[in-house]
Amino acid sequence: MIHRYWMPALVGCGVLGTAAVAMAAQQSEAERGAYLARAGDCVACHTAPEGKPFAGGLKIESPFGTIVSTNITPDPEAGIGDYSRDEFAAALREGKRADGANLYPAMPYPSYAKLTDDDIDALYAYFMQGVEPVAEKAPESDVSFPFNQRWGISLWNWMFTDADTFAPTSGQSEQVARGAYLVQGLGHCGSCHTPRGVLFQEKALDDSDDAYLTGETLEGWWAPNLRGGGGDDNGGRGLQNWSADDIVAYLATGRNDHSAVTGEMTSVVANSTLHLGDEDLHAMAAYLKSLPRAADGDKKTGSETTPEQTEKMLTAADVEGKPGARLYLDNCNACHFANGQGAPQVFPSLVDNELVNADDPTGLVHVILAGARLPSTPGKPEALAMPDFGWRLSDEEAAQLAAFVRGAWGNHGGKVTADQVAEVRKALPEDRQSSKPDFVD
């Protein structure tokens, strides 16, 4: 729960439309800035549900109170229209408001500190010229003492941030360096995927530290280890088994041959990565693949099954006395099939799946209860969806089912209790879409 305030709430897909801005050589400074704003996913936090783009007002709950994102349109009163270029740069890189006050570090300025001057210029041009001004101030954050004392953040900044702009590591190819810049800087991937320390700081802001991008659990959802293991396939799970093309497909379309996006990452794909150019996505993938990975410190072993055993049992429909397996046949097999592998690009594989095998089953249980929907993307326009099963499964049944999936086909996710399911169920929004049969007769 404590990490909640780092996370944007899910913003509706396609707030600004979906056309990617081409990275043409002739594009204007403001157009280049628009593209960079996509890479930085500014819109996700700085837009309220149904609100005007960049007008702020998104409420980000935290244990200390509600942080409300600000209006960053060029309106001089309500927004940042009277910011000079240097004031704008200070906000991005150092988390300093024009009046000198500190921004709450929900703003990923520790990552944006990596931005080059050129890119700051482009972003400034975009936010001043390319964004529609909105003369409506976002509500103030409601943060209680002592967290409302913004000066305290200075100390935090001094301890955990680093104002140096990005510099490539020696020997990095141009592509990997570009990828590193995007991942560490605008992409601020570490905000979710790097473990946090006791003061909620990211343990590393770049790959100079082995902890960088090794995964973190946020509100019960596992944000996986993104380190690709130097490109070697050493039999682990997750990104190190994905090719660079798999990573690109995932970021561009929310789906690939192995998996499909769920949870907060759905918004990241919809608002940010699907808008990025192919070259940049390949650069990010190349960088992630290049990161060395410890000899699978996070890989658990000791699964009681093999893929073949589970597939054989489900294919024979031999589930007498195995309630989890029976529930799988009655609810999941239609799309994910007896081999658990679903279908490439359409239905995610459950075998070795990060969400399925996470230490905390919250994400898996959430998807079982509430379903999930992929964003419609230019490359893959179909907003494929999994229906919700919360109306059909009791807490006990959902726990049996989730535990089965976490232990089948060589998976090693561990047990799930009905109480855990009940917790997840309680937190589901009431107005979510449901496919429960609704009979008029």
């Binding site: 029976r326 009655d330 097999n333 007896a338 919360g390 109306w391 059909r392 049944e397 049969p437 007769d441």
Partner: protein, 236 residues
């Protein structure tokens, strides 16, 4: 016209001039926290909402003749078929809500032209049960439900063949609805009130709402082994 179209066509679209209807709708009034099924009603305790006590006795007796409990497999009464029929009377079917029910009516045309009566099915039931009751009183001295099984069977057969004629309703149509709805209640998902505990599905080997058989397509000539599942997740 021609140049107008050409110019208009090539001017591109005006952003925002067209309002998109969202691709998805959120269903209203759906309980999102209730899991699984409510247990099916007990036929003996059930209070019909459409049928009165006399009519209900007819429905129970007639259903018991159409799908009796004799022999293998459940009958209409064990599977709550009468409850299904009672609920159908109150729904769209009973009211003919989806049907074209404007006049003029020509009930005398050939049956090839389908339903041509001004009566909604619930009215056919009401009139049909009453007329059958009068026929039984007049010819056998008792109501239908009080007759012996063979006589009941004989009367239903006469209705089916149109051998008994009523003044205000087609006996054949009345029987056709009764038989159709009885089979529906027997085989439909339990969510509709009949097919209690999926007993008819277990009887014939239909897996119900499982709808997932990729691995079984090529397992030829081998009876599918797993019991049914219902819409609400009841397992049998």
């Amino acid at each position: 016209m021609s140049s107008e179209l050409k110019n208009a066509s090539r001017r591109g679209f005006i952003k925002g001039s067209l309002m998109m209807i969202p691709a998805v709708t959120v269903g209203g009034g759906v309980s999102l926290t209730a899991a699984a099924a409510e247990p099916p009603a007990n036929l003996d305790d059930y209070q019909p909402t459409f049928f009165d006590a006399d009519e209900w006795r007819f429905i129970l007796a007639a259903c018991d003749r159409l799908i009796p409990s004799d022999g293998e497999g459940p009958g209409a009464l064990e599977t709550n078929v009468p409850i299904f029929i009672d609920q159908q009377m109150e729904g769209k079917f009973g009211h003919a809500a989806d049907w074209y029910m404007k006049g003029p009516f020509h009930p005398g045309v050939s049956p090839l032209f389908g339903y041509q009566s001004p009566l909604a099915p619930r009215e056919v039931y009401r009139k049909g049960i009453a007329a059958t009751g009068r026929y039984c009183q007049d010819n056998h001295g008792k109501g239908f439900a009080a007759l012996d099984v063979d006589t009941q069977t004989q009367i239903l057969t006469q209705l089916e063949k149109g051998e008994i004629e009523f003044d205000d309703v087609s006996s054949g149509q009345f029987f056709a609805f009764l038989l159709q709805n009885t089979k529906e209640g027997y085989f439909a998902d339990p969510i509709h009130g009949g097919n209690k505990h999926m007993a008819s599905w277990k009887f014939i080997g239909f897996p119900g709402a499982r709808a997932s058989y990729l691995e079984w397509v090529e397992q030829h000539n081998k009876a599918y082994p797993l019991g049914p599942v219902s819409l609400t997740g009841e397992r049998g």
